[in-house]
Assembly symmetry: C2
Homo-oligomer: 239 residues x 2
Amino acid sequence: MLSRNELKYIQSLCQKKQREAERLFLAEGVKLVEELLHSEFSVRHIYALDSWQEQQSTVPVTRITEAELQKISNLQTPNQVLAIVAQPDPGPLPALEGQLSLVLDGIQDPGNLGTIIRIADWFGITQIIASTDTVEWFNPKVVQATMGSIIRVKSWYLDLPDFLQQVSVPVWGALLAGENVYTTAPISEGLLVIGNESKGIRAPILPLIQHPVTIPRKGQAESLNAGVATGILLSHLAR
Amino acid sequence: MLSRNELKYIQSLCQKKQREAERLFLAEGVKLVEELLHSEFSVRHIYALDSWQEQQSTVPVTRITEAELQKISNLQTPNQVLAIVAQPDPGPLPALEGQLSLVLDGIQDPGNLGTIIRIADWFGITQIIASTDTVEWFNPKVVQATMGSIIRVKSWYLDLPDFLQQVSVPVWGALLAGENVYTTAPISEGLLVIGNESKGIRAPILPLIQHPVTIPRKGQAESLNAGVATGILLSHLAR
């Protein structure tokens, strides 16, 4: 049974402002919630149908009805369980040496960000540095689109021009004109910058790209979706 | 000014049943509608704000208000113009020799289908054969997600097992286990089968795949989005 205050509180966490103030986020569905319970993330409270089998004992569980789940869910088809989870502290800026990290310049679409996090996880990339205007990491649509990869990939939201001016590792960037990615050697250390969906990599960042790379086009589409482009580039550069 | 009957009629075209009965679809936005007007597609009627500049003379244009556009638009942010367009007749089954075509086994998400059409267009693939249960080609979300590529890529919805049993070109398929796509030679002729988002390529199709190919995984994500996987595979196989 969900109290009126609980309902209001969970619904308030659908707003970015409230998520940031409380340092919490919402995660839904049997698979994701169980992965979170077995991770280092701190799950604070679970709201679940009776059909959801409790696999743990430390997190408080409130049993709710399907109608109540419908009210608090962000999914079209709610899936048994919703968790309130603490946003982990990303800690200080990570070491960039000896690995490939992704840099996102203003990705706006939550589905695209979620897809990019999932792709990073597929290719073993665990660090993403995002411009401060990139869509919020813990937006419910981002969280769900990562299909659990949000557990394994960490984010730092930074002033990008400032950050890129200070790094000592090489900087690649996805551009419509650049070196053919099919003949570019895999990257063992550095950053790959992915641009905004419609504007690409923005003007203040461009001079900081040392190695522009591009995906050759054989047909007539003007561009590729940001997530698809990230996947293609990493399949060539992060083998 | 939009009459009550026109409003009802356009809204009815948001339903698949009605689109198929009328052999029509809806397309929105300045760029897409102008591309359609300059293509072989038959645009039947245009509904536009006064701000939309008419570039043609043969298609009837009804001027409408922003409030009216809001009522007929499928977009979150309507963009000046909506067109009613005839669904082109795909004609007989295409020749498969001498080129790479895509085959979709039950893609369900309109955004994924639209993204795959856009990727096909980027790599110069103009033919897609889809299972009869693949999401409808002219679903408004598919049309918008193609970013204009729907003009250049043709579709045939067929009984896939039946179709694949009869083809004489080689058949590749995207699977979690198969030949490493990084070391597979580019394909000059044949079919590449992409499976359903959660089930992958389904059981009746599996025996008809002669060349399973896979994208090696370095990290921990369980799978890749169907569109992203299509993009990665084509970047290696359709260079």
